[in-house]
Structure formats: C-alpha cells, structure tokens
Amino acid sequence: MSPEPARSTNPASTADPTMTMVSAINDTLRAEMARDERVMVFGEDVALSGGVFRATEGLLEQFGEDRVVDMPLAEAAILGAAAGLAAGGMVPVPEIQFLGFSYQAMHQLAGQIARFRYRTWGRFEMPITIRTPFGGGVRTPELHSDSLEGQLTNIAGLKVVTPATAADAKGLLTEAIRDPDPVVFLEPLRGYRGVKGPVPRGEYRVPFGKARWATAGNDVTIIAWSYQVEVALRAARSLAEQGVEAGVLDLRTLVPLDVEQIVEAVERTGRVVVVEEAVPTGGFAAEIIATINEHAFWSLEAPPVRVSGYDTPYPVGQLEDTYVPDARRIEHAVLALLEVQP
C-alpha cells in the first residue's frame, strides 16, 4: 500500500492558470492519496475507465487496485462498505456516479453514515467524502440531473459542500477528505469543463462555512451555490449595464452555513434573491430565507425571493432549459425586487 512517488500523468498538474474543475478534482484526489495512504477511491467505473467524467483518471495506475476500486453496480453497497471501511480506519472517498442514483443508497447515507458518530456516541468517526455530480443543463437522461441539496441538508450529521470554481473544488475537496466527518461533495455537471480558472499550486485548503463574494454590489444580494454562481454572475453583469449593482454571494458550503455573511449582506442591501436549481418546496433556498427572517428581518426592504426549479420532477431535455434558472430569470427577479418600495 505504499504509494509510488507522484507522477505527472495528468496535464492539469502543470501550472495551467485556467484549469477545469474536473482537472482540479483529479489533481486533488491524486495529492490526497499520495499524502495519506488510508485514502481510497471507489465507485462505479472509477478505476479502469477513470470515471465517467474522467475525474479519477490515472489514479488506478498510480495507486493500484487496492486503493482505486471498481465496485459492483450497487449504490447502497458503495456507501455501506464506506461506513465499514471508515469504522476500520480507512478514509474512503466513494463516488456516486450521479446524485440522483443516491436514492438507492439513501438509507445508508441518511440512516447510517450521517449518524454513525452520533449513534456510537463518538466511538466511530466517518471521515468519508462522497463525491457526486449533480445539476442540470447537459441533456442527460432521467435522474442524472436532480439537485437534492435540500434533502441532504435536512440530514443532520452530513456536511454538504458545493464548489463553484476550480480553485474551490481543490480547496474544498482537500478540506473534505481531511474532515473527520462525512461530506457530500457536490460537483456540478456543467461545471466539470464549463468552469475554468486559476488554481493555486501545492497545498490549498478552503475552510468550511466561509462564503465568498463572487462579485460585490450594494443594490441587491444574489445568493447562490455551485454552478448557479456562474449563472448569477452572468445576471449581475447584465444588471450592471443597467446601473444595478448586484452582489453575488457564493455559499461554498451549505452545511456548515455562513450565516454571518448572509446576515451582513441583507443588512447592507435589504434585498435578496436566492438561486437554486432544485424543487423549491422545502428546499435549501427556503432555509436561507428562513434564516434571513430569523436574523436579518428588520433590514428587509422587500420580501426575499427565490429563483429555482419548479415543484415538478426534473424534466426531460426539451424542457430543462425552462426548468433550470438562467441569467434572464435571475435578472428579471432582481429588477422586480428593486421595484418594491419599502
């Protein structure tokens, strides 16, 4: 199990200032596996093929078949085995091929992994990082695009991490793998290659629970996470041309949540739009707005609004562009919000 010295089999490990998110993830997995031999990667098609998005490409060659493992096609087995491995002292980084497939493992995720530390009252840690792509807009078949963060954040004992940039993908994944608790690491399908940017070289960690201003603005606050940060930025640019300065707050992690920055933003702008791809009822945007009402109510100049999917199952390809929020919808919501007089 001794790792070989790191080889540069991946072009992304050079000093590319515009690395894709998937390359950043691949690099980070490689670095963490080299750093800690307890770290192991397993899931469906992760070893020989390097993952359906190539996020685990080259890991098998570098770290061997004990630590990079193609699993039988069974999501519950992947996560259930991860729990046992963690109890046995390993640091599992399982992959669920698409978040929508996690329904078939929800009893292990919500019923077991999330509460293992709690039900054993601290005896067993679950330092598991579940990597899984999610989100829509790329014409996948059913259940490949579902955004389930509202369900995941409703499970006490899970951390839910949603990087929006390539650098954050590295910094947050590093943090997730080193975190002693289970983390669901949500990777945006559209962001794998659609999001590019400079990525710090060497050790880079981004602490959980610290939101990031993707762009500043004092007229209105747009709160988003994962790929919708990119969409919100597009809306903000368009709004700027109309004289509206919209700030975009990238939450980075949903659990833990940076309540302080959300409250600060509302106190400053009094107007909030929360963007999510998911079904709105009972979703995480609703949680954010409830949080705003609890902690920043007196600063509100207008009712907070959501731009989200709809209360329907995630639709098929010809309907998905209507379902998934785009910059135009966000812009429209912001302009309508700005018309409300306090």
Binding site: M40, A81, G84, L85, T120, L257
Partner: protein, 322 residues
C-alpha cells in the same frame, strides 16, 4: 457458554419487566436465540475479530466483556452512552435499520484485509433481513472482494408476524450463498456446539484469506418479537409448544448434565451471576449522568456554528424552565 446463555435469558426477562413497569422503551427479547449468539461468538477472538449485532444479540455478547451488557442496558434506557462500545471492544451497537449492518461488515472486513489484520467480522441478521437489498448487495460485494466476513443469518422463523415461508421460496437461506460465489451452511441454531463448529470453520476460512461464508442458524423465537408485539395473533397453535422442546437452555443443560458437566448448584450459581450481571448493568446505566444539552454532542467532531447557537439557546431555555 451455558452461563452466558442463562445470563442472556435472565437479562432479557429483566428488561422485559422494566419495560412493563414503564422504566424503559421497547425491547426485543432473546428467548430461543441464545445458542446461536453464544455459540458463534465463542468461536471468535475478541482481540482481532469483530461482531456486528442486530438488536437482540447484545444481551449475550459476554464473550466480548461485561461492558457490552452495561452499554446495552443504557441503550435500552435511552441513554446515548448505550451506543458507545468503548475502544477496544470490537462490537457495534444494536442496529435498527435492518440489513444495513451487513454492508458495514463487508466494509469493515475489507479494511482488515487492506490493513493486513488477521481478523474476521461476524455479522448477525435475521431471516427477514435477508429480503432486504443490502443483504444481496453485501453478499455479492463480499464474494467479489473476498473479504473476511461471516454472515450469520439467525433464522428464528418469524420476522415479527411474517413466517419464513413468506420471506423466501428458496430451499434455505444458506442456499443464497451460491449466487454470491461463497459457501453457505445451515446449522441447528439451538445447539451452541454445532454453531460454534461452523463459525470456527468460517473464521478459519476468513483469516486465511479464503473469503466470506454465509451461515444460516435455524432457531426459534420463543417469545414475542418485541415488547410491543402479540405473537398469539399469528403464531399457529402448537408450533410454539413444539419449539419449546428445543429450548437451548433446556436441551444444552440436559446435554451437559448427562456428561456430568452441570448440576443444580451450577445452575443456581449461573442464575445468580446472570441476575447480578443485569442488575449491575442496570445500576450502571441508571447512574449515568446526562445533561439535556448533550443532544448536540457527537453529531460532528466539532459542532457547527448553528449547533453551538442552538445549544446556547436550549441551555438558556432550560435554565428558564427550571
């Protein structure tokens, strides 16, 4: 083994009474499954092997030390320490979500293999659990990975009110091993010696790198499923009476007495020791301190800011209430 079986039965009865007195919540009695639990775990080495129980077995896991019963009493009492089996006791707490623990066993056994530890993982589950997807996923995965795990299906004839005939059309539960590519064995689960023998063999296979074994131990549930169940509604007349003839506490005692290894005094000593064990466990459990703000302990290694705030609010609220 006889002493532990008696202890298990007495502890189970005592907890049953405590439930009827309103001192604890629902509990699942062990009656009829003592031989399977004790015979199998006496084949293990507590220094390297692990046990992952379902929710009855912890009454008779004395092989892994008296702490197991103490913690089980606390678990029944609803104290969070009940789920904590302190290191290095290689026992998991009771599992309520049926069959999930079978996959944990495979993962844990996988970690032993990866770390080069010559131990095995014994996982208990019932005939009902064998219908869960996790059982099949676990059996399949263990076959593929060749990990040192022993699947012990404690077939007591009933999954609450559903009889074996409604769980499977297979000839036996052990027969399912064939689909996993691992050996399957059926054994008389009312005979601790027979159970000990097959589990010993399975353990040998496990620690010598030969992989997993599925064992079906056929016993009978001599009591209700739990304190909330009424088996007279569904158990056919006469079936229970017939099964009682096979009660391991009776048959094994006769066996031992026939060989001159057991007598009335030993029986009385074992019963006193068993009663003392559960009384000690109960006394230990009821003396455990507990602050209501412990609610927030052990969700994460370190609480989130929101949890800290909730805890502070709760403490203030409770302070006001007092």
């Amino acid at each position: 083994m006889m002493c532990e079986m008696i202890k298990g039965r007495i502890a189970s009865d005592r907890l049953w009474s405590l439930q009827r007195q309103g001192q604890i919540g629902t509990i699942a009695p062990i009656d009829g499954q003592e031989a399977t639990t004790v015979g199998s775990t006496w084949a293990l080495d507590p220094a390297v092997d692990w046990v992952i129980p379902q929710y009855r077995e912890s009454l008779a896991l004395g092989r892994f030390g008296p702490d197991v019963l103490d913690r089980f009493a606390a678990w029944a009492l609803g104290h969070p320490e009940g789920g904590h089996l302190p290191d290095p006791i290689r026992v998991f707490p009771p599992q309520i979500s049926l069959a999930t623990q079978i996959l944990h066993a495979v993962g844990l056994a996988w970690s032993l293999k990866l770390r080069g530890i010559a131990g095995a993982v014994l996982v208990f589950f019932g005939d009902g659990s064998s219908s869960e997807g996790d059982f099949y996923e676990a059996g399949n995965l263990a076959g593929v990975l060749e990990v040192p795990v022993i699947f012990l299906c404690s077939n007591n004839g009933w999954a609450i009110s559903t009889p074996t005939s409604r769980q499977t059309a297979a000839a036996s539960f052990a027969a399912k091993a064939e689909a996993f590519g691992i050996p399957g064995v059926t054994v008389d689960g009312m005979d601790p010696i027979a159970v000990h023998e097959v589990v010993s063999a399975a353990r040998d296979r496990a620690v010598t790198g030969k992989g997993a074994t599925l064992i079906e131990a056929v016993n009978y549930r001599l009591n209700a499923h739990t304190t909330a169940d009424d088996p007279t509604r569904y158990v056919p007349a006469g079936e229970l009476e017939a099964a009682k003839e096979r009660d391991p506490l009776v048959t094994f005692r006769r066996q031992l007495e026939a060989r001159g290894l057991w007598d009335r005094d030993r029986q009385a000593d074992a019963e006193r020791a068993g009663a003392a064990a559960i009384d000690n466990a109960w006394n230990w459990a009821t003396a455990l301190p507990l602050e209501q703000t412990a609610l927030f302990d052990h969700v994460f290694a370190a609480p989130t800011q929101r949890q800290r705030r909730q805890r502070t609010d709760l403490a203030a609220y409770l302070g006001v209430e007092r």
